[in-house]
Chain length 365, copies 2
Amino acid sequence: MSHAHPSSAASHGTASIRDVAELAGVSVGTVSNVLNRPDIVRPATVERVHAAIKELGFVRNDAARQLRAGRSTTIGLVVLDVRNPFFTDVARGAEDEAGRDGLSVVMANSDESPEREATHVAYFETQRVLGLLISPIGDLGERLERLRSSGTPAVLVDRVAGGRRLSSVAVDDVEGGRVAAQHLLDLGRRRLAFVGGPADLAQMQDRLAGVESAVAKAEGASVEAIETLGLGFEDGRRAARALLARHAPARPDALVAGNDLVAIGALQVLMGEGHLRVPDDMAIVGYDDIDFASAAVVPLSSVRQPRDLIGQTAVQILREEAEDPSLAPRNLVFKPELVVRESTAGRAWPRPSPGSAGGVAPARA
Amino acid sequence: MSHAHPSSAASHGTASIRDVAELAGVSVGTVSNVLNRPDIVRPATVERVHAAIKELGFVRNDAARQLRAGRSTTIGLVVLDVRNPFFTDVARGAEDEAGRDGLSVVMANSDESPEREATHVAYFETQRVLGLLISPIGDLGERLERLRSSGTPAVLVDRVAGGRRLSSVAVDDVEGGRVAAQHLLDLGRRRLAFVGGPADLAQMQDRLAGVESAVAKAEGASVEAIETLGLGFEDGRRAARALLARHAPARPDALVAGNDLVAIGALQVLMGEGHLRVPDDMAIVGYDDIDFASAAVVPLSSVRQPRDLIGQTAVQILREEAEDPSLAPRNLVFKPELVVRESTAGRAWPRPSPGSAGGVAPARA
DNA sequence: GGACAGCTTTGAATCGATTCACGAACTGTT
DNA sequence: AACAGTTCGTGAATCGATTCAAAGCTGTCC
């Protein structure tokens, strides 16, 4: 079978560019030209080739195309948790932006596990993706720099690239934590708690730092950090149960949660199992302002991040770095904004100031 | 540059198998063997090759591997809505199962648009993925059959393959609708409404049909269908506003929602804007039993589907069909189960029967 | 009629990993 | 020491699309 012509795409299997060329009576080069630069091919030929393509049901083999080009047109996105609406929204933003250039975004889930994360990065590396968007959990700095110097740029998402020569798109988490805490302090709360984790997650450290900085400036106020294993419902529920186990005076009077999932989980247990009143007995601020926040048992005050924008911007930067690898890394930081709802400013508590609940950032509904 | 040796992986760019071979002082064939069948290579050689691989930071180029193999080891998953937790849970199930065989799952979002869906299917086709998992919106029957006969199997997810020679993994939506309606009827409700859409979505048709069949058997009961454009929060909110615009006697006394997102959106508006009591004035049953269902303003009764299992099973079937394309298509249908919570069985209304609320299917919390 | 420009098309080389028929080297037997 | 039987390693062919130097063709103009 060495010198024979390739098998025709007869009964099954897929037609190749050669089959098309043969049927159309042209060379493979011409078919390729029709596919990629139709303007330099005579119209009549273009038509003949198209007819052949249609008749054979030819579909370009991207593996071959990619092998030649050296790079694919796919962007890899590794998120901490697919089930967290924050990340799916970021993904949507990225998809939209990528689509404009005919690029695709492919999503993988690290589930907050550095091992899974490493696996996915390695996978995308073998795929020679155009670039990587990562919301990192493990320490990838070195690895990503190596990747970058071998032609695969990476952009950190939802995390500022500290020191490393890497671009990032993030939101000022310190500010977010500060704003959340300040709001609670303004409402008269004094014994705050920050619930989130794992503690080595940069976002959590920053948000906690923000809370602490606000508390430090407030008379007689204190914070304690309650670490959770992850950032899902169940983590919030567990933390809330731990709080309920204390006797009432030892409990905080306000919670800043690491994200909305944790906040909602906690909310559920505090009210359902502990019969506490929210916000009366315990005020709660979430983080991310996911769609569910406003639909919770008690609509949740939350720190909103421009999710779509994060995804879009990350893709833009990635695209630019892919084209010009010598570009200096950029670190974009967006400002978060607080959305006030009943979980902090319920009827029983004085609202901060007239119009503030709707004014800071109007809830969508 | 025609006959010259390939450039060494010096300053930048990636090392190829040839660079490794050269450095290790063996042939490319041997390197490939070390990579794929290390058992047939002398241990000393294996070691030498591994050392070279490490020194060069060699990473296998999957495009080339794939080109030769004809197929990739990636499974494409096209979902209706990434933001719907139902689908991310299915994706998790699929990922877990695929991971067992070293396969990867890549997710794309059709957003209930047949055009985007077609684009994604085409994309996966050019990628020569191992197979496709699709929760279809448009009419893909013909296309998928063609794909299958050209070696790319597809499994329909959350939808029974009607007539077509395709496998599918679904849940009995007619039964789900029936159970939801029967529950409401048992509680004494008589004027039901089904809220969901778009109307041409098979799942919606089936669920509605189930509701109608239960209603038909109940004395003096009626249903109306309220069509929504999609299945997100906002769709539920809009539908609820339409209901509130009617004068009270013309409103239904119970809602079956197309999914939980719609249910939660409706719940929110009915209570928040309409000041209705749920379930007193309006009982609501959702669909999917996503995690948020139990955390809603009023914890939501919902029809639970075995989400993880759907994903896992779909991957299993896909794998089998990829290995043996002659396999007859299988159509698996799981049974849904009703989870009763306060949105239907609140204090003000009699519970169906002792223990039933927890017995039918205990809530996770 | 011939030369030349401009437009089309050709086809061999290439990307990197895999495969496999073949040969080299080695072991053990008689 | 010769030969059969193994074990290892080799390297050319291959997958399918792209590229680009070179060849073919058409038409124009002198």
